[in-house]
């Protein structure tokens, strides 16, 4: 619920510019570059009890994305324009934890995402951004007993939605106008909601089913990796 509210607010914030008049020429109105490449690292701080049972550490990782401006809206007041971009990216993360001083857990996830970004240049070199995206990928979880190395790995396809607000510090590196290149830093905080993954106790050392006794596997329950996200990265605008 909390995640849904956060995403909703950010998506509305991203899309509010559509209500305004006056789509202007990119090159004339916006001081920001039309293309941005992002490389980032960060963490996801779990908000669901099921995840922290396995790991108290955030899901750490990184990713990359490419952003292309699709419209630039002229704004009244002190700011010249609000850029609207489409974005496509990939990210992956993992975390490790110990439960009961005996069970070692590894959670790894990757996803591709697509979404939109609203970029409000405060100055040429400082932008406020709002971002929303949806995506899907795979999540792997393994619980292993440290005394025997007995383990139960499982994996599932998961889907998610994310929203974030941030700042981009993008000083111009070279050139001007259409030939300008910007290089700088991104910082953003947000929230990611994912579909829960049902974790089954499938032993990793088990031979194929046709060679084994029929088996039934207990369910550990649903693993929900929802959480607050934080990203720090570099960006190139051109």
């Amino acid at each position: 619920m909390k995640a849904g509210m956060v995403i909703g607010i950010l998506l509305v914030a991203s899309g509010v510019a559509h209500a305004d008049d006056g789509i202007v020429s990119e090159s004339e109105a916006s001081p920001a570059a039309p293309w941005h490449l992002h490389a980032f690292g960060g963490g996801r701080f779990f908000t669901d009890a099921s995840a922290v049972i396995l790991s108290e550490q955030p899901l750490g990782g990184g990713g990359a994305s490419v952003e292309r401006r699709v419209a630039s809206l002229g704004l009244p007041g002190p700011f010249e324009a609000l850029d609207l971009s489409a974005e496509l990216g990939f990210e992956a993360g993992s975390t490790h934890g110990t439960t009961f001083q005996q069970l070692a857990s590894d959670i790894t996830t990757w996803q591709v995402f697509a979404g939109g970004r609203a970029r409000l240049p405060i100055f040429d070199w400082l932008h406020v951004t709002g971002r929303g995206a949806v995506g899907g990928g795979r999540t792997y979880v393994a619980v292993r007993d440290m005394t025997t190395s007995s383990g139960i790995p499982d994996q599932a396809t998961t889907f998610g939605a994310q929203a974030a607000v941030g700042l981009s510090l993008l000083p111009r590196l070279t050139g001007a106008g259409d030939k300008a290149v910007f290089l700088g830093l991104d910082f953003e905080v947000g929230y990611q909601a994912t579909t829960a993954m049902s974790v089954g106790a499938y032993p990793e050392d088990r031979p194929p089913p046709e060679l084994t006794i029929p088996a039934a596997y207990a369910s550990l329950g649903d693993l929900d990796l929802d959480g607050w996200t934080m990203r720090i990265g570099t960006a190139i605008g051109f």
Partner: protein, 524 residues
Amino acid sequence: MRNLMILMLLAGCAERDPAFDRPRLITGPVPLKDQIAYVDGALDRVVLVDVAEETPRVASVNVGRRPIWAVPTPARDRLLVITRGEEALARGQIDEEPALWLVDVGDPTVAPTRYEIGSPFDRVAVSSDGAIAIAHFSESGPDAEGFFRNPNELAIIDLSPGAASPVTLKTLRSFGSAPTAVVLSPPMRVPGAADASERVFAFVLAEDRVTILDVTHPGAAEVTIRLDTAGASVSPQEVVFAPDSSTAYLRSDGARDVLEVELVSDPPAADVPGQNDYRPVLAELGAGGGPSDIAVYDDINGKRFVLASTPNTREVVVIDADTGEFVRIPTDDPIDRIVLFPDSPDEPPRKAVLASIGAQLPRIEILDLEGIDEDLIPRELETLDTGAPVMSIEPVPGRELALLVHDNDRTVLGLLDVAYGSVSPLEGVARLDGYAFTPAGDFLVAATTGLPRLGLLELDNLHPSDLRLDDVPRRLFALPNGTLFVDHGDPLGRATIIPGPTASRDDSIVLSGFLLAGLLEEVP
């Protein structure tokens, strides 16, 4: 960064309950009627694997903090769990007193009954009817927590539903020693007592003493019998009961004879509350020479006999429990083990197999019990050469058969047919780490921890067969419904459930991960 993390926490990040950082101690498996129970000391729950139906079901029942001991009732339909409790010294801990939990394993949806036992007892004894339990300290005594501890304290718990004040704490008179064991009698009547109802007596064994408690009337005083009045130290080891005559027979290390303790009526004085309506009458049954093993049985006419082996005098003594008369049967060997056949509650034994386990002799002797009451005529012993030293005799339930173990590694075995007086050697490929006889006594099922298979021996014709497993076995149980349960020793829970000794691999099922079932949904 630290401030950011604090901000994240304030924003609603989940925080793990400290209970998930506790050490994980799994007790079990404990075989029950149609279930196998495991006690999870980290999640404070009993995990039940129900094998009554074709598809096994896993259920869990929450108990108190820090379960330390679990024991089933004799009928194996309920499980008693002692929880140590804890003190709230750190975040996530709670103040909880030690408790005994009665878990109805037949219906895991029913909340277990909690009994506040007051002290951190770590053992429990249950009466044969499952109506009364006694919580007590083990020989190692109380743990290090707390200030004062009283090793002679007991908690008598009335397990009847709706008991008004089910727990009675009692401290036994002591002469410097602490209890080593508590044995509860079957329900029995005290002949001639005004209270003719059946009651349960507890025999509390301690160095140089035995204490008798009428636990059906826990407010009554205990009776302490000193065993060292002759000077030598005596350590009581074994109690067997003759409930029809309200008698117990006590074997002790350091004693020359079997002590007969008969409970007789002794009406209390009207003005002395809490006084018992019985007293024990003691008799030393003439075993002589220090009995090493005793066995009690009722013959087909209901007459009770006590057999006692005295290796020091190379005799077996047959005692008429009603009269105390006895006869000595000389033996060639220092007999220290008596096993009665058939081993059945419904059939009186017909033979006694006598072995010299301590001397590790390659022979046994068989005593025919039929007609032994005819003037107590000494019987001839039949000596049977076993071909290898006898280290252990394990009777097959309901049959006149026994498994003989010939070496410490349990690799050389034999099957003794008591009726025919024969021993058939059994050749195994590895050490016998676990075995079970099926409830009907028709199969011996065996396992070794290094080999992923079960060995099955059809006892009627000694036909061996195998069942290949997917994992090496650790523990093996034959449940009353005929199901074979093989635990693989996986801390995450892995077991193979086999419907019966003739079932195939396709009929069987492996259950995996049941000890972690529902872990991600746990709310400590």
